[in-house]
Amino acid sequence: MKQLLKINIENLEETEKIGYILGKLLTGGEVICMTGDLGAGKTTMTQSIAKGLDVEDYVTSPTFTIINEYEGRCPLYHFDVYRINDVDEMYDLGYEEYFYSKGVSIIEWADIIKEILPKERLNIEIKKNDSIEGREIIIHGNGERYINLIDFLSKEIHR
């Protein structure tokens, strides 16, 4: 079972809006994988999801810490695995404690650790297009939970 949602957006505010709505819909235990080039807006999207999760702290990119943890409606684990060279390092990190927890895990550059991502998850791909701020956001999910999530998200966005 798969589900796909494509959204073309024209500016940063729209990315923020989608992230916020998504964050509001999360209940804990979700794994969200984010891919996209440098500057595509992965961190902006994460910050907005965090807002939707009622995280009050300022969310910054964990490029050097690899994982940052925030308290919101449920815990938010923000991963940036750009500097991970080998999935073995993810085992050292104890990633299972986070991916399979009651918190929300958001993973930037998730394609680097493909082998160990849970089968059921939400994927968000952010693609740049010809205009400076324009983006194509492709959201797809595996598993019933994420298919329902995309359904809700699509209804909320188009409302």
Binding site: D88, Y91, D92, L93, G94, E96, E97, Y100, S101, K114, E115, I116, L117, P118, K119, N142
Partner: protein
């Protein structure tokens, strides 16, 4: 001799101080995984309540694993740091040994189980023989169904203890029935008093370490085991 022990390997953040005669103080907080914020104030409170300073402690002890990787790092780093500040020795105690020790002189088998996620537990099998706690099956990360297969043959009563019971109680009871028992709430979590007690034994036998040497014992699955799991598609979607 005074031993200060902590355990941050699971949900419980716990600190205890014992001397040769008794438990002086034990402080256990079993609410939310916020050990990096909670454990130092708990240690401070425990020391101050007994009018003790870090330099009054002879040995610093920690539950060194298995358990939450992050929790183990917090615990080991905290204890190593404290010991270094007052130039004292440290002792690492197995988290599972300490959990089993929560049930002194209990009959049958004691099986501590800690949730290792995805239907696996960190576990070992223990038994009291003539007042000594023996380990009869080495500590391992096992799938719950493998653990059940091992236990189903045993004639003894089996007492489960640890946070794994919060997740797998029904599964265990369905498979093992009347012969399984579950530790009461007061014993069903990491308690630093048990860590301290086992550390005292080790310290008396001279089995202390330098704070430069003590490291967490993650009890990680071997790479071979992980590859086996992947092959049997317990995780991952390489072929997608």
């Amino acid at each position: 001799m005074k031993v200060l022990a902590i355990d941050t390997s699971s949900m419980s953040a716990t600190c205890a101080i014992i001397d040769d005669d008794k438990l002086l103080v034990e402080y256990t907080l079993n609410h939310k995984l916020t050990h990096s914020q909670k454990i130092m104030p708990i240690i401070k409170e425990a020391l101050q309540s007994c009018n003790l300073k870090p330099e009054d402690i002879d040995v610093f002890a920690v539950a060194k694993g298995p358990g939450s990787f992050t929790g183990l790092r917090i615990g080991v780093a905290t204890v190593n740091g404290l010991a270094q500040s007052v130039s004292k020795r440290v002792v690492g105690v197995s988290t599972l040994d300490a959990l089993a020790f929560n049930l002194p002189y209990c009959e049958g088998l004691i099986v501590p189980i800690m949730d290792a996620r995805r239907d696996r537990v960190f576990t070992g099998i223990y038994k009291w023989v003539n007042g000594n706690l023996h380990i009869i099956k080495e500590q391992k990360a096992l799938e719950v169904k493998e653990l059940i297969e091992t236990l189903i043959e045993r004639p003894e009563k089996i007492v489960f203890v640890g946070d794994g019971t919060l997740v797998y109680k029904d599964t265990l009871f369905d498979a093992l029935g009347e012969k399984c028992l579950f530790a009461p709430r007061s014993a069903n979590m990491a308690r630093a008093s048990s860590v301290a007690e086992l550390a005292m034994v080790k310290a008396n036998e001279g089995q202390t370490e330098s704070f430069f040497e003590l490291a967490p014992d993650y009890l990680r699955e071997s790479q071979a085991q992980r590859e086996y799991n992947e092959k049997h598609s317990l995780i991952g979607d390489k072929n997608e």
